[in-house]
């Protein structure tokens, strides 16, 4: 065969390889494809929060942004929302447990993609983004603020006052609590803009959805093996479901709930108590509308003790350390936890969701490789 013919044969061979499905995605079963497709598309369509009259309002987002970085909201004038949610750390603080006015019991979750969540906080003590924004401002150990302090800033600070005056008018009187709620709703409007970027996984997923033969082009082989574990034997996608990689509810994954000095973190059961005791819920007078049915029909059960909200996995490689108390430092250790989970530590009544996966070292590495493709490069 001449050199020219060999070159032509090589070129044709390369073309055929490009046109055929990659061997990795061709191996996917119809069930695997269906399960993978359920994790998209991303980002989801924007739906304003009917409970927040300022949702989606650019002027409110501008006020919210200013308030987010405003330490004067706190009792000592030194703690802002950004103390625990730093933009350069994927809106976490990188600590095991956060420190506001006092050391806290939980890890600061990322604020990315918080919009649209039904429950916020590790225990779901808030049923809206605006209520979740007000809670830390008023918590004594976090920012220790008061409605009066928030109201004074909106009334007296020239810049903040001007931003507040630019908001749509509202019927309720502007008492201190009403102004604090306005501030919280503006903070929520700002956080609604924090949406995680598309990832290598999204390109793979959308390629599969479109039936493109090169869907896996550029997607690492080890990550694809990890993805198959994730939606298959690992059963991870039962809880880390949907485009957000979370079903948004609460589970026990054997992390434990004991704190120092014999204290325990009651998790979801405590969150439900706090929600019901709060005037700032979807059932309260400060809510502007929207769907309050989940809050109305919420039920507390014994098994809710020690459960914590299933976090989204989008951007997960940038949000270490992990779990509600930040006790697991790396993604590798998280996967090892699920591989070797101690069933004796699972305390939720009757739940048989979590079992030790008994993954090989290679499988653990594959799962980590997949998780890393959920974070934008």
């Amino acid at each position: 065969m001449s050199i020219a013919r060999r070159r032509l044969a090589a070129a044709l061979g390369a073309l055929v390889l490009l046109l055929l499905p990659g061997p990795a995605t061709a191996d996917l079963s119809p069930e695997e494809r269906t399960r993978i497709l359920r994790h998209g598309p991303w980002p989801p369509p924007w739906r304003p929060d009917g409970g927040n009259r300022l949702s989606g309002d650019p002027a409110a987002a501008a006020l919210g942004r200013a308030l987010f970085f405003e330490p004067r909201l706190s009792a000592d004038g030194a703690v802002s929302c950004a103390t625990c949610h730093r933009p350069e750390l994927a809106w976490t603080d990188g600590r095991t447990r956060s420190v506001g006015l006092a050391p806290m019991d939980r890890n600061a979750p990322s604020l990315l993609d918080a919009r649209g969540r039904r429950w916020l906080g590790w225990d779901g003590a808030s049923d809206s983004l605006w209520a979740a924004s007000l809670r830390p401002i008023l918590e004594p150990g976090e920012m220790g603020g008061t409605p009066g302090r928030v109201a004074a800033l909106l009334r007296e600070d020239e810049h903040l006052s001007a931003l507040h005056r630019a908001l749509p008018a509202r019927a309720a009187p502007e008492d201190e609590t009403g102004l604090a709620v306005d501030a919280a709703k503006a903070l929520a409007a700002f956080q609604e803009t924090l949406v995680s970027r598309r990832t290598r996984f999204d390109r793979l997923r959308d390629g599969l959805a479109a039936g493109r033969p090169d869907a896996a082009a550029g997607y690492p082989a080890d990550a694809l093996r990890g993805l198959r574990l994730f939606v298959g034997r690992g059963n991870c996608s039962l809880c880390h479901a949907g485009a957000a990689f979370s079903h948004g509810e609460f589970e026990d994954v054997g992390v434990g709930y004991f704190l120092e000095r014999g204290r325990v973190d009651p998790g979801r059961i405590g969150g439900i108590d706090r929600l019901r005791a709060s005037p700032f819920t979807r059932l309260g007078r400060w809510n502007d509308g929207g769907d309050a049915r989940p809050t109305r029909h919420l039920v507390a059960r014994h098994r809710d003790f020690g459960l914590f909200r299933v976090p989204s996995l989008r951007g997960v490689a940038a949000t270490a350390p992990y779990m509600h108390d930040g006790r697991i430092p790396t993604l590798e250790a998280v996967v090892r936890h699920y591989s070797e989970i101690d069933e004796e530590r699972l305390h939720a009544d009757g739940s048989r969701l979590v079992r030790p996966l008994r993954l090989s070292a290679g499988e653990q590495a594959d799962l980590v490789a997949f998780l890393r493709t959920l974070t934008p490069e």
Binding site: H247, P294, H297
Partner: protein, 133 residues
């Protein structure tokens, strides 16, 4: 006393009885028992993961028997051993039908909806299987 019975669901079109005709033509499930029929329809018609839905339920007597009451309603995932995180509110409509508001299937997989039918002191449990993707 409670008796458990897992029964087959007839497609609406094939159901002999007219029970549940008021629920509409499509998406109606029926559970046939010798002395009564339970018909129900979800709203929205498709179960969507994590979304709130309602059931509309009709109970009809058969062979001259009166229609029993719907005493309780719940749902759970037998493979996982857990139920819903939300308590449905059961209420009776003016036309004698029932509605269950505030239900949420928060996990993909096989769910069983349980209907306790009869009187508060004596019920029979009917079970309908639904798949959520």
């Amino acid at each position: 006393m409670k008796a458990a019975a897992l029964v087959l669901l007839w497609p609406a079109a094939a159901a002999a009885a007219d029970c549940g005709a008021t629920l509409g033509e499509a998406d109606v499930r029926r559970i046939e028992r010798p002395r009564y029929t339970l018909a129900f329809r979800p709203e929205p018609a498709e179960f969507e993961l994590g979304e709130v839905f309602r059931l509309r339920i009709v109970l009809c007597g058969r062979a001259g028997a009166p229609a029993p009451d719907l005493v309780r309603l719940d749902a759970w995932m037998p493979e996982h051993g857990h139920g819903m995180n939300y308590a449905p509110l059961l209420s009776r409509e003016a036309d004698g039908s029932w509605r269950a508001d505030g239900m949420v299937f928060h996990m993909a997989g096989r769910w069983e909806i349980t209907f306790d039918v009869g009187t508060p002191s004596r019920t029979e449990r009917l079970v309908a299987e639904e798949a959520v993707e």
